[in-house]
Subunit: 152 residues, 2 copies
DNA sequence: GTTTATGCAAAGGCTTTGCATTTCA
DNA sequence: TGAAATGCAAAGCCTTTGCATAAAC
């Protein structure tokens, strides 16, 4: 399998993280990392499980959950809870910070960026002495397509 | 039971909503609304269930879930998903818009306000033709108290 | 050789659902 | 009286856990 520059880079980050924390460098963990970085967009555990199964690299759901925790710890993955019950994930390294717009009619999730969010983070940090690690801004409503459909 | 001005107000909103949508005005629904507005802060279904039981006004969990959906529909309640599995709720009427700062160490949730979030909402609305209904901004990290503890 | 990770299946927790009973309109 | 809401218990779904097996170190 040909690896991109980026894949090498995230693999190194993960490897360093595992070593520094006394975790083992198992093939499953790197296979999962690779699969996560092979796609853009959001996924849940079930979808990731299906993808790996299809590629004949099946790992247990338990291992997927465990590995997600590790990847979140070292900031290679972000975890989201939108409206539904399950957790959604996305790769996080080298992707500029962004937030999410969720259509409550069709369930579609879009992304957007706004620099003001960084200012808000700084404010909270200063005002409360809070050490900010991450944030999630979810804007809910109805997307343009669903508005149009509804009017017909 | 003495009712505040506000309780009358939210009850009227709920009553109107139920009538306009052909839902029945059951005593359970109004008892739940009243209990929700009797406390500030966040609560989950189990806590609400416990409170009502203690006051000898027990309703089933199923009815609590159903009624929460109605109250969310008419903007009298907001629902949140923080980090844990269950949903958290809070009363929403006549309380100024605010967002949440979550300490991932102790789990404590604080509130803050920032007018820039409204500007971001407007931007998204204009840029994407998205009809914004609500938003949730969660800032995660470590609170001042937990930082202090950790340093000792 | 130890100790940690994996995989499987079972258990857990929150939420939804089905159905009989009650109650609002 | 008829349709909708309630309550209870069971089922569902996602996630975590326990334990035997396998594999890093």
């Amino acid at each position: 399998m040909q690896m991109t520059e980026q894949q090498h880079s995230v693999e190194r980050i993960f490897r360093d993280y595992l070593e520094q924390h006394g975790h083992r460098k198992t093939p499953e963990r790197f296979a999962i990392l690779s699969e996560v970085y092979a796609h853009e967009g959001h996924f849940d555990i079930e979808r990731l499980y299906g993808r790996m199964k299809k590629k004949n690299y099946q790992v247990s759901r338990a291992t997927l959950y465990n590995t997600m925790d590790l990847l979140i710890e070292c900031d290679l993955v972000r975890k989201h809870r939108f409206n539904d019950t399950q957790s959604w994930f996305e790769r996080a390294h080298a992707y500029r910070q962004h937030d999410h717009v969720i259509c409550d009619v069709c369930g579609n999730v879009a992304e957007f960026c706004d620099p003001r969010i960084q200012q808000i983070r700084n404010n909270v940090s200063e005002a409360l002495g809070f050490r900010v690690r991450s944030h999630a801004l979810h804007i809910h409503g109805t997307c343009a397509a669903c508005q149009a459909k509804r009017e017909n």
